[in-house]
Subunit: 227 residues, 6 copies
């Protein structure tokens, strides 16, 4: 675990059908459907607004200021993958730009989640290649030290196994363990079905206090109304 200098070639990816379903629900609904776990830290932000993707994780462990392993990872990408890049230490350098995005897309990647910096924002936006990163930075990187590909990593505070399902949008990034993808997709669907009715009632002026029957438990805890 966390070994440096290793590339794992055969990984078990989450079921494609299940993974594809996750994107339509988005990060917040999937996070709730998971039982409110799986969310990366909120410092991760999309480089442009409006993208929403799901895919299977090809994981990368980078060294600070060194993007060599992203090139190694490119070879391991299969269509529908999202590359998830962690770093052995906090680092905001510009590990990724339009050339690597061109390569990743040619391999079938649908996005990148990187606990580091990204550059060529304008080009990536025009390409429509979505990236979630902790920083935007022109800082160039070297190719000198080994990291790893497709080992378990911690990216932005969340443990990610290669092959896990990833859902990312404007709200954030959620990691769904591969074996749970379909179950979570089903739970998300159930949750969403449930929400449209709630939305209509709230829009009509019904209070959550009444719809969720909160008045009694609030009173029990001692909530007092004063004038």
């Amino acid at each position: 675990m966390f070994e440096l200098g290793v590339v794992k070639r055969n990984i078990v990816r989450a079921d494609r059908v299940a993974v594809d379903q996750l994107a339509k629900f988005g990060a917040s609904t999937v996070h709730e459907a998971m039982g409110r776990v799986g969310l990366m830290k909120t410092y991760m932000r999309p480089i442009y607004a409006g993208a929403r993707v799901s895919g299977t994780a090809v994981t990368v462990l980078l060294q600070p200021g060194d993007n060599w392993m992203l090139h190694v990872a490119a070879e391991q990408i299969q269509p529908g993958d999202i590359v998830v890049a962690a770093c052995t230490t906090d680092n905001t350098d510009g590990f990724f730009g339009d050339l690597l995005a061109t390569s990743f897309r040619a391999r079938g990647a649908v996005g990148l989640v990187i606990d580091g910096g990204c550059r060529d924002i304008k080009d990536l936006t025009e390409m429509g290649f979505p990236v979630w990163s902790r920083a935007i930075s022109s800082k160039g990187t070297v190719k000198a030290t080994l990291g790893s590909v497709n080992i378990p990593v911690v990216c932005a505070g969340m443990a990610v196994q290669p092959g896990d399902a990833i859902v990312a949008d404007d709200d954030g990034i959620v990691v769904v363990p591969a074996a749970m993808a379909q179950k979570v997709a089903d739970a998300a669907a159930a949750r969403e079905a449930n929400e449209s009715d709630k939305r209509a009632r709230l829009a009509a002026g019904v209070l959550g206090l009444d719809m969720y029957k909160m008045r009694e438990p609030l009173e029990k805890l001692g909530l007092r109304y004063v004038d």
Copy 2:
């Protein structure tokens, strides 16, 4: 003060006519008109660009990871209110999303200022329901612990009384004590009237050094020009 478990129902709101005037001046002009006070911390950012609102504060004191009091607050909202939510500790969880926004809007709220996280960014943007928050986060919250509604709070570094006037736009969020709303609106109007002439002169190439008669005081303080 700062009591937990209390909801105050009858609050004195700033004068509606005065409050409505504030939005057109925006946060920066109102802040100056107040004598350069009243501004919340700059980590508070709008979830989408371009919104500018003013309203009267319904205040909420949240517990970390718990959005129960936002449901309690919904009932206290009157048309033209802005909900101002503080938290008993620093917390970025996603206390607020599209369902609560639907409810708040149905009650007449024109926006939310929350010293915490917000989610469903895409939906809120499409709804045009403006939120200023310290973070964007999918992190779900529970409904387990009492906070308060309509007590004095400190939100993003600024003291807010229920009923105070709030002005928020891309520049930030300013709190105007309810009793000062009209006076501040008048001062903002005077300030803005004054600015168009200045703008024209500066555009014509007149220097601020001359227009504001700064050369003499600068010289007195010892400013030296060298070649």
Copy 3:
């Protein structure tokens, strides 16, 4: 050096032709062409997306909460300049807004880089006057204490001499010493010429591993492939 209360009038600006060339390459390419140096800290962000400018630095050293020296600097601006404002301490106040932008533009400035706060975001966006800042803030400033203009400064972690070439876009801000502007522009051009071929090959599915001949050095360092 770092003397307070001094305005230098005659500075040697980087060659205009060279400086004008830099904008088209952008910050990331220029940074690489410099040998991966010259980049300001990544907390500096454009107030709106999509701007890309290059210009010659008029430097300003501000005092916290005091924008007086920006007015002093306005007089020193020549067409094609970018004002680069540092502060004697970390400060996010709103030193700059639409009135100063009107004045700066009238003098020929093409942008502002400020290690402090900026306000009137909506107006500046409509004017198309690009600003890179560490914060957005309505906080007003005073005019009470002397700083300096056109002395060497450190802005967002990078040393800037008056007259240096500045390149700024969505990726960040790069400082090119005045004497190196043409050499860097040439190196950037060579770099970019080289990139279009690489991009085509990567788009066709060629791996960076092969294109950059990385397999042998990776193997030498001990990279292991496992199944």
Copy 4:
């Protein structure tokens, strides 16, 4: 409120006897006795370990980089006061050092709480004059712009009225509204009396699960034990 350029001379201080009792309980116990409110942000740290004081607040509103109002405040200090200094914006400059400490002590102050920087750490430590600050900084300040003394302020996220009781130690800083000082001191005493018995039982190996009768509510919420 928040008016600049005002010094209030006559303030109502919390009862001296009550205030003196608070120090022996410390910040954490007093915070609990208040109902878990009143705590300043955790970025405030003592400049040396081991100090524990309580006193009545003389409040100061500073401008960034300007310590003039601390001199104005010195005149308002009475024996047993703690000076509580806020700033109109985030600023870490060294507003306070050994000369001001000498003056404050001569007036009877027992400590300083400052949402800004402090310097002369070695001297202050030797003097035994305790300071809680957000930073340590040599950065000198000017005397150029008016703030206020003894107006309500927000210091490190907490609202403070002049005359409020302040308790500060290694755990943090708690603000007790003046009118509540005795009531809080009594609650703290009751709380502490209660703790020694608990401590003995826990030391003897009794579990909090049993002592606080937590097993049943945990089970009701669904806590599952697995092997």
Copy 5:
């Protein structure tokens, strides 16, 4: 994985003999012996200087502002354990103080690592119960929401399995997978044996450049000496 509401009773702890050896090497040497992995984020700091411990991890997943699971965890502690507490979101509240420390010590715990806040610093220092935390805070917590005990967690950026070996001192906190404890202890011993000779040579004035034979590789990469 990451399931809420679960307590695992039987965990496989790293070998006691191996774990006990780790403390004498300290975090930095163990981290190097691991191959430069396993280190928690540097924002984790000891509440007092000079402690150095190793132990086996009892893991806890807390909810923000809620320390209930620390009481649940107490029952799972065995002599030689270190409690490792993560939180579902960033939170600095004072989850832990002298009462829980008394209970943990009675159960045999040798320390606490918590990605949250700690209080009662003075008491804990006097007790000699070492804590590494992200903050010091008086902020009280509630007992209202379920987390988990002895599930895999991510604490301060590092994945921890229950039973893993933990080494903590003034330099930081390193996580050693349970199965690797003896191997890492051996590697650390070898490393340290190697260091005393190096230290003596460096103290005698031998340069690392010569001792590590760096001159040739530096020259190959093009390092230039100028006068």
Copy 6:
């Protein structure tokens, strides 16, 4: 400037006699004597309290996660030097520990200022080798990429030329340009001579308001006293 891969051997060091005088005044007094400039960012902290040193700068530009250049720098150290290490990007890795400290001390260095991480805190404290750093971290570094030695750098926000005088203590770190060392030492001496009289008067209860004749300028600016 900022060239990578260069070691400058012959640098002009500030006058030894002047540099030695600076330590006794400390960072805050020297900073004031410089005219309130020259201070590094306040995130730089000593690894142990109480050290106060002055020396001449041997500068280093590090790459993130790579401490090779510290070994290269060791050879350039002369007795009385302080090594000042900057990094091409923000990085907190543990670049420096007891082995390098042993080597630096053997060469005559009196301290290290590093805009990065430091480890072996316990050993360095016992050795009495003072380090000012931005972080404490066990994180190991590699030796793979060239930086430079004795080029101008920006360290913690301040420009440093090789040979500049450095003064560091608990209050912070000040950079004195080599050519100004004696002049600054004289100004610091004058300032300190002046302070003992002020201190005595303040201790006797004289107010700064009177001693510095502040009442009149405060009144002119409009300061109002209310009851």
